[in-house]
C-alpha cells in the first residue's frame, strides 16, 4: 500500500501527535509499536478514517482517509472485540452486510458463515458475545472486519485484553490471513507477532515517529528510546 502522512498533528487536551510527515510505499503489513501514550492508537484511528486529525492529511493508496468512499474499504478490529453485545456472532456480521452493504439475507448469512468458519467459529455462530471466550469474541470481530471485504484491515492492540493462550489463538488466526490479499496496519505489544507478520515497522515515541524500517530493526535499535522499549517489551 501507499501511505502518506502530511503535517499530521492531533490534539485532545494536549497534543498527542506532533507534525508527522512520512511516506511509505509497497509494504503490505505495517506494524506500529511504542509505549502506551506514544500516540500509536490515535494514529491508527486517524489512518482508518475513524477520527479526524486536528491538522494535516493522511492519504492511503492515493485516497484521503476522510472520504466516505475510503471508509467503505476499511475494516477495523478494536482492543476489546467491540461486537454489538445484544446480537449473536452471526448477526453481528449479517446486520452490517444487510444494512450497510446492501446484501440480501441469504447472501449475508452465507458470507458471515464463510468468515466465521475461516476464523474457526462455526460452532459458536448463534451465541451472544458474552457467552464466548475473549479470544473467540475477538476472532468474531476479525471475521466481522473481513466480511465487508475491505482493502485494508486495521488492528488496534487486538490482544491487549487477552491472556497469553488466547493471544496466541487470535494472532495465529490473523497470520492465517496473510495470503488473503488484504493489507494490514496494526498496533501491538507482541513482538513475536511483529517479527512474524509485519513487513515494515514504525516505532513511535511521544507523538513522533522515532524509527522505522524492516522488522530486523528490532534487533539493532538505533535510538535509546527503542533500546529501552525493547528491554521492557519482550
Amino acid at each position: 500500500m501507499k501511505l502518506e502522512l502530511k503535517n499530521l498533528s492531533h490534539t485532545y487536551e494536549v497534543e498527542v501527535l506532533h507534525d508527522l510527515t512520512f511516506e511509505l510505499n509497497k509494504y503490505k503489513s505495517i506494524a506500529i509499536i511504542g509505549v502506551s501514550g506514544s500516540g500509536k492508537s490515535t494514529l491508527i484511528r486517524i489512518m482508518s478514517g475513524m477520527e479526524k486529525p486536528t491538522n494535516g492529511d493522511v492519504f492511503i493508496n492515493e485516497m484521503n482517509v476522510n472520504e466516505e468512499a475510503y471508509k467503505k474499504k476499511v475494516g477495523f478490529v478494536f482492543q476489546n472485540h467491540n461486537l454489538f453485545p445484544h446480537l449473536s456472532l452471526l448477526r453481528n456480521i449479517t446486520l452490517v452486510l444487510e444494512k450497510t452493504r446492501g446484501k440480501t439475507k441469504v447472501e449475508a448469512e452465507a458470507m458471515a458463515l464463510k468468515y466465521l468458519n475461516l476464523l474457526h467459529l462455526h460452532d459458536q455462530t448463534h451465541k451472544l458475545p458474552k457467552n464466548v471466550s475473549g479470544g473467540q469474541a475477538q476472532r468474531a470481530s476479525i471475521a466481522r472486519a473481513l466480511s465487508i471485504d475491505p482493502d485494508i484491515i486495521f488492528l488496534d492492540e487486538p490482544t491487549s485484553s487477552l491472556d497469553p493462550i488466547l493471544t496466541h489463538e487470535v494472532l495465529t488466526a490473523v497470520e492465517e490471513l496473510r495470503d488473503s490479499g488484504k493489507e494490514f496496519i496494526f498496533v501491538t505489544h507482541v513482538l513475536s507477532f511483529v517479527r512474524d507478520f509485519a513487513d515494515y515497522v514504525i516505532f513511535m515515541y511521544d507523538g513522533k515517529i522515532y524509527e522505522h524500517g524492516l522488522p530486523v530493526m528490532l534487533d539493532e535499535p538505533k535510538t535509546n528510546e527503542l533500546k529501552e522499549f525493547m528491554k521492557k517489551v519482550r
Binding site: M50, E68, F78, N80, F84, P85, H86, L95, T100
Partner: protein, 252 residues
C-alpha cells in the same frame, strides 16, 4: 440418594425460601391473633365487586402513570442532554424539587392548587399527573444509565460501517437500551403501584380507597387492612419476580 452440588444448592435454596415465607406468615398470623377474637373475611364477600373494581383501577392508573412518566422522563433526559444550558438547569431544578417533595404533598398541591390555577377541577386527573411528575426524574435516570451504557467505541464502529442514524437507533441502540432499561423500569412501576394508594386522599376509587369504603360498611377493620396488604403484594411480587427473570434473560 446421591446429589451433586448444584442439586444440593437448589434443595438448600428451596428449603431456605420455604422457611423464610413460613416465618413471615407466622408473624402475620401472630399479629392477626393479637387484634381480633373473631377473625373472618366473610363480611367482605358482599364487597367483592367494589374491591375488584379498586384493584382494577389501581392497575389502570398505575399503567397510565408508568407510560406518562416514561414519556416525561424521556423528555427530561433529552433536555438534560441539550446543549442549551437553560434546559439543563430546568431539569436540575425540577429534579431537586421533586426529590425533596413527599408524594402525598405533591398530589394535594397539584389537585387543589395547580389544577384550579389552570381551571381544572378534575382531581383524579391532577392526582395522576402528580404521580407522573413525581416519577419522571427517576425515569430520567433510568434512561440516562441505559444510554450511557453504550460505549463510545460502539458508536465508532457504527460510524465506520456506515450505518445511517435511523439504522443505528433501530438495530443497535434501542434494542440494547430496552434490555438495560427493563429491570429498573419495572422497579419504578412497583413504586408507582404503591404510590397510587395515596390517591385515596382525592377519593379516587383505587384499591386502598375502596377497601376503606368496605371497612366503613363491614366494620371488619383488621381483615380489611390484611386484605389490602395481600392484594398489593399480589400485584407487586409477581412484578418484581418477572423483573428479575427479565434481568437474568436479557442482561448483556
Amino acid at each position: 440418594m446421591d446429589l451433586n452440588s448444584t442439586q444440593k444448592n437448589k434443595l438448600n435454596n428451596i428449603i431456605s425460601y420455604t422457611l423464610a415465607i413460613l416465618t413471615v406468615l407466622a408473624f402475620m398470623v401472630f399479629i392477626v391473633l393479637r387484634q381480633a377474637t373473631d377473625f373472618s373475611f366473610a363480611p367482605y364477600s358482599e364487597y367483592t365487586s367494589l374491591i375488584s373494581k379498586g384493584f382494577l383501577n389501581t392497575i389502570i392508573v398505575s399503567i397510565i402513570s408508568l407510560l406518562g412518566s416514561l414519556v416525561l422522563g424521556f423528555i427530561l433526559y433529552l433536555l438534560s442532554k441539550s446543549k442549551i444550558k437553560y434546559f439543563n438547569a430546568i431539569v436540575d431544578v425540577f429534579t431537586e424539587i421533586i426529590y425533596g417533595t413527599p408524594l402525598l404533598v405533591l398530589i394535594i398541591i397539584s389537585a387543589f392548587l395547580i389544577g384550579p390555577a389552570f381551571n381544572t377541577y378534575n382531581r383524579i386527573v391532577m392526582g395522576t399527573i402528580a404521580l407522573i411528575i413525581y416519577m419522571s426524574p427517576y425515569m430520567k435516570n433510568v434512561f440516562k444509565s441505559a444510554f450511557s451504557s453504550i460505549s463510545e467505541e460502539q458508536y465508532m464502529a457504527m460510524d465506520l460501517f456506515g450505518f445511517t442514524s435511523y439504522q443505528k437507533y433501530r438495530y443497535i441502540i434501542i434494542p440494547q437500551v430496552i434490555r438495560i432499561l427493563m429491570p429498573p423500569m419495572m422497579n419504578n412501576f412497583s413504586l408507582i403501584i404503591k404510590g397510587s394508594a395515596l390517591l385515596n386522599v382525592l377519593s379516587f376509587n383505587e384499591l386502598y380507597y375502596n377497601i376503606l369504603l368496605a371497612q366503613y360498611g363491614s366494620f371488619a377493620y383488621v381483615e380489611g387492612y390484611i386484605l389490602m396488604w395481600v392484594l398489593y403484594l399480589i400485584i407487586t411480587i409477581p412484578l418484581s419476580q418477572f423483573s428479575k427473570l427479565v434481568e437474568r434473560k436479557w442482561s448483556l
